[in-house]
Amino acid sequence: MLDPTSPLRGVSDRLASPPLPVEIKGLVYETGGKRVIDDVDATIESRRITAIMGPNGAGKSILLRLMHGLIAPTQGEILWAGRPADRSMAYRQAMVFQRPVLLRRSVAANVSHALGLRGVGRDKRAICVDEALKLAGLERQASMPARVLSGGEQQRLCLARALSLDPDVLFLDEPTSSLDPASTLAIERLLLDAQRRGIKVILVTHDVGQARRLAHDVMFLHHGRVIEHQDSQDFFDNPQSEGARGFLSGGLVL
C-alpha cells in the first residue's frame, strides 16, 4: 500500500475514489460513413487495471476517446456510477496519449501548465510539480526544455503530468508502444503505483506481456465490437472467441 513517505502523499492525501462501475450502453461511433464502434455494451466494475486489446483498427483508441469525452458518440451512452459524464467528471479524468504531447516549455512548466488549467493555485502548483517530477524520476531535468528529453522520459513526463492532476480515472493509449524495455518498466511501475492509490487505470495496449503484467481484466475489441471481456487470467489462459485466440497465439487477426 501507499508508503507514508511516498512523494504522492502531498499531491493526494486521499485515495482516489473512481466513479464505478463504468457502463457502456449501445455505443456507436461513425465517422466518414464508417462504423468504427459498433453497438458496444460493456461494464467495467473492477477498481484495478483494465486493458483494452485488439488488432489495429478495432476501435480501441476511439473507445478510449469516447470514454474520456474527447469525442461524442453517434448513439448510446456511457454512465459513470450511474450518471452521464459532465464537466466535473472530465476533471476527474486524465489521459496519456500514444505519442507524448509536450508543450514547448520546460519540463516543470509542462506540469505546472496542466495544473493551472485545472484551477490549482500558484503556491500549490509548485509543490505538486516537484512531487510529480520526483515520482517520475525527472526532478533533475525540471528546467530543461521538455522536447529535448528522450522518448521514454517524455512519456514519463506525460504520465507524471496526468498523475499530478490527481485523477480518479486514468486513460492510456498504447503508452509504451515505442519505448524500450527500461522505459516501459518505469511506466508500468508508475501505473501499478497509481492503481494502488485507487486510481482506475484503463489502458489500450498491443503488448500481450504488458497486459499480463498489469491488467486485472481484458476487453477484447474486433471490428468495433467487444467480443470478449473477462478476467485477464481467464482471457489469456482460455480465450473464448476465435479472434482473441488468434490474437494471443500470434496469428494474424484480420
Binding site: L70, Q93, A94, V101, L103, R104, A114, R147, V148
Partner: protein, 235 residues
C-alpha cells in the same frame, strides 16, 4: 560618376556626424513604425489566435481575407485611411490627417494582416498537435489561445519582425496620410523619394544606407530567432 562618389562620401559623412536632419527623420520613422507594430501585434495575436481556435460561421472566409490582405498595396492602405480621416470622412473630426498618428494608423492597417495571418498559421500548426491533449486537460478556448500564443512565441517574434520590416520600408501609406511635411511627418522613405526628385542625392543616399542597414538587421534577427528556436528544441 564623380558626382555619385561625392554624394556617397557626403552621405557617409551625414551618417558619421549624426546630421540632425537625418537623425530627426530616422527617429520619427522608427517611432511611427514601432508604434504601429506594437499595436498591430496586439491586434494580430488576438485575431490570429482566435481564428485558429474558435469555430464560427465565416471563419474560413475571414482567414482567407486576412491572408489576402498580407499583400495589401501600401498606397491602398493609405488611401483607405485617408478617406477615413479626411475632413469629410467619418473620423474627420479627429483632425488626424497629416500627423504621425495618421501614419501609425495607416501602418497598423498594413501590418495587422501580416502579423494576424502568420499568427493564425503558427497557432493552427500547434493546435493540430496539442488539441486532444489540451482538451483532455480541460482547457477552455481562451486558455487554448493563450497556450498556443506562448508556445508559438518564436514564430510570433518572426511575424513581428516581418511586420516591422514591412512598416519601416513602405512609402505609399505614410506619404498619403502623412504628407511628407518637413519636421512633422517626414520619414526615411518619403524623404528619400523627395530628396531624390530634388536632386539632393547625398541625403537620399544616407537615408537609403540607414534603411538598408535596418532591413538587413531585421532579416538577420529573423534568421537568428529561428536558429535559437531550433537549438532550444522549441520549434
Amino acid at each position: 560618376m564623380t558626382d555619385f562618389i561625392d554624394a556617397f562620401r557626403t552621405a557617409l559623412g551625414l551618417i558619421a556626424t549624426l546630421d540632425p536632419d537625418l537623425v530627426e527623420i530616422l527617429v520619427l520613422s522608427i517611432k511611427v513604425s514601432l508604434s504601429a507594430v506594437v499595436i498591430a501585434s496586439l491586434l494580430g495575436f488576438a485575431i490570429g489566435g482566435a481564428l485558429a481556435v474558435y469555430r464560427f460561421p465565416g471563419r474560413g472566409a475571414v482567414s482567407a481575407v486576412l491572408s489576402a490582405l498580407m499583400g495589401l498595396p501600401p498606397v491602398v492602405a493609405g488611401l483607405v485611411v485617408y478617406l477615413l480621416l479626411s475632413n469629410v470622412g467619418p473620423l474627420g473630426v479627429l483632425q488626424l490627417l497629416y500627423t504621425p498618428t495618421a501614419m501609425i494608423i495607416a501602418q497598423v492597417v498594413l501590418v495587422t494582416p501580416i502579423i494576424g495571418a502568420l499568427t493564425r498559421q503558427a497557432c493552427q500548426d500547434l493546435l493540430e498537435e496539442y488539441d486532444e491533449q489540451l482538451r483532455s486537460l480541460g482547457a477552455s478556448s481562451s486558455a487554448i489561445v493563450a497556450t498556443l500564443l506562448w508556445d508559438g512565441r518564436y514564430r510570433l517574434i518572426t511575424a513581428v519582425l516581418a511586420g516591422f520590416g514591412r512598416a519601416i520600408a513602405e512609402v505609399g501609406a505614410v506619404m498619403i496620410v502623412g504628407g511628407n511635411i518637413d519636421h512633422v511627418t517626414r520619414t526615411m522613405t518619403t524623404a528619400i523619394a523627395l530628396e531624390t526628385s530634388k536632386g539632393n542625392i547625398a541625403l537620399a543616399l544616407a537615408l537609403g544606407i540607414v534603411l538598408l542597414t535596418i532591413a538587413l538587421a531585421v532579416n538577420a534577427s529573423l534568421i537568428w530567432v529561428q536558429r535559437l528556436a531550433n537549438r532550444l528544441a522549441y520549434a
